[in-house]
Homo-oligomer: 349 residues x 2
């Protein structure tokens, strides 16, 4: 029978709480649909860093490469600098496995009150370029400690990198009404953005049913607040996609519900699935983290593995639970993480 090897990295803070619950729900749905999931749970987190000086073993990437997918909770903790936790784990996984698409869908979920009225049919997919752009390794400081100190960061956009993100986004847009919004900032001084516009426009020409609308990032942020349902599919650079996807999650009611798939679309390497939220040290261990983002990410993973029915079933289960009025405090409910998960499990069985 079908079986998948998944590396689970619960990580830090509420990452642990939501991963725990998500693994249970995935196991339940796997049982129903007749496949197995073999979890390799990794203790790669800030504790390991404190003990061993590394977020993951030297051969961590190698270890992951034999699996069918990676499931991440969240990383980050107040006493370790974020660049250590993220550069030690999250970013290398995204890059070494060429997970060049970060897919971030959002809908107004049943039972959830969005930030503003009249957005019942909110349904947005952000296709974020995930391995280049504003997040490059090139940069640093000059004259540390002096009055003349300065820091630089180089954004790097390649034709290939933009084109493949645009291609993925255009394919997504084809099934989503054909209109693709490209987030840009080509009206000023940022030399990379007219290049972004050009390559997006050229690439989308390959897709007869798709029309690109380029929208300046500042205007787009405002439009997502004023007319969020006027947008279905967005293609954005690494930084812009990061900002926009959190913004859209805010519009839909909570960052706690937002999922994220870091995809290597050609499947040469494992892809990684994670909720958008961070480790949230302020509520870690309180048992009140919203597991919806994690469950939705798990459903995206099942879909990626080819288990579309199981993915739909898991999605219906958490949506049904929300529709029933069961929700964690971030959604103004009173359920704990465990209570929410129990309701999802009982819907599955």
């Amino acid at each position: 029978s079908r079986s998948y090897v998944i590396d689970a990295i619960p990580g830090d803070g509420i990452g642990v709480d939501v991963t725990d619950v998500a693994m249970q729900c995935v196991d339940a749905v796997a049982g129903i649909y007749g496949f197995g999931v073999q979890w390799r749970v990794r203790d790669w987190n800030s504790d390991l860093y404190r003990k061993a000086g590394r977020m993951m073993p030297v051969d961590g990437i190698d270890q992951l490469s034999s699996g069918d997918g990676i499931y991440l909770g969240a990383v980050g903790t107040p006493d370790v600098p974020d660049d250590v936790t993220l550069w030690g784990l999250l970013i290398p996984i995204r890059r070494e496995f060429d997970q060049y698409i970060n897919l971030r869908p959002m809908r107004l979920l049943p039972g959830v009150v969005g930030a503003m009225p009249g957005i019942g049919d909110l349904d947005i997919v952000v296709v974020r370029e995930n391995v280049e752009g504003e997040y490059s390794q090139i940069g640093g400081r000059f004259g540390a400690g002096t009055d003349g100190e300065f820091a630089v960061q180089e954004s790097v956009f390649t034709r290939r990198g933009i084109a493949r993100a645009a291609r993925y986004a255009a394919t997504a847009a084809t099934e989503r009404g054909g209109r693709l919004v490209s987030a840009t900032k080509s009206n000023g001084i940022i030399h990379t953005m007219p290049f972004w516009d050009e390559v997006v426009a050229e690439t989308v020409k390959e897709f007869p049913g798709v029309v690109v609308e380029k929208v300046l990032i500042d205007a787009l942020a405002a439009r997502l607040v004023m007319k969020p349902t006027s947008i279905r599919t967005i293609v954005a650079s690494n930084l812009f996609g990061d900002i926009l996807s959190d913004l859209v999650a805010g519009v839909a009611g909570s960052i706690g519900i937002a999922p994220s798939a870091n995809l290597n679309p050609e499947r040469r390497h494992p892809s990684m699935f994670e909720p958008v939220h961070g480790s949230a040290p302020d509520i870690a261990g309180k048992g009140i983290a919203n597991p919806v983002g994690a469950l939705w990410a798990a459903a995206m993973m099942l879909d990626h593995l080819g288990e579309a029915e199981a993915a739909r079933s898991l999605t219906s289960a958490f949506e049904g639970t929300l529709a029933d009025g069961t929700a964690t405090p971030d959604l103004k409910g009173t359920a704990t993480t465990a209570e929410f998960a129990a309701a999802v499990l009982s819907r599955l069985s």
Copy 2:
């Protein structure tokens, strides 16, 4: 009697409509408060570019330097690349006159329906660093036209540049409850942002009454949608400030109401005042542009000139007009630009 020389650059599109109206209202309020405004109206815009190949004369900056302030409508037109219109006019003015603060206040104005309910006491000031950061001259393309083509853009943050923005913002925060939100992205790979955090933190130490809360730009975008009234004062880099100020205007109901002051706080050079909105070619010439952003920017100019009472009077006049239910279509009203302005003028007299 007191008199000020103001260079008015109506620019393109609706910039012309709103500047026209704003000058009338400023003249009216000046008459009441006993000072004069000598307008030097400049035809520096895309038409000039089409005729003369320049957005402003070779000695444009010199010409402006003798004035007491600059009032700009908007620049940009579909058939001229934005980098031409902006690099030929807006950006050089900001830089040559070292207008290193871009001040962007926003409130929920009377009579205006915000994007979401319960934000009646929305009152946010974005202090945007305005001459460095992500908007640097350094960048370009390599291998144009080849498969290996790439483009780079260098962000440059200096200690001095961050510190003076933080100092201005901390001063503003002192009078606004003491809490200063610093927009950052220091949790990843962007080398400049930990430096931003450090210099902001050090600088704000000089202000005993001010507490800095650093918030990641992605989380901040979501928070501005979910809890906009939890934030009063924001300090942000050039790009982040650009995005956040449009977002906040969207939350408050329309980009058409948002003002912007490009300040040289030491008054060594003239400062520039402009609405945040662009030239909006789609509605240019239709007489329906919202003049509130322009009027609010004019009030900020009066305040900067030392005419605080006149500034307050102009502000009350456009607020009163809105409170009466007079509003342009972007605010779901039916007034034209001229009707709105007439109502403001009749309140002033």
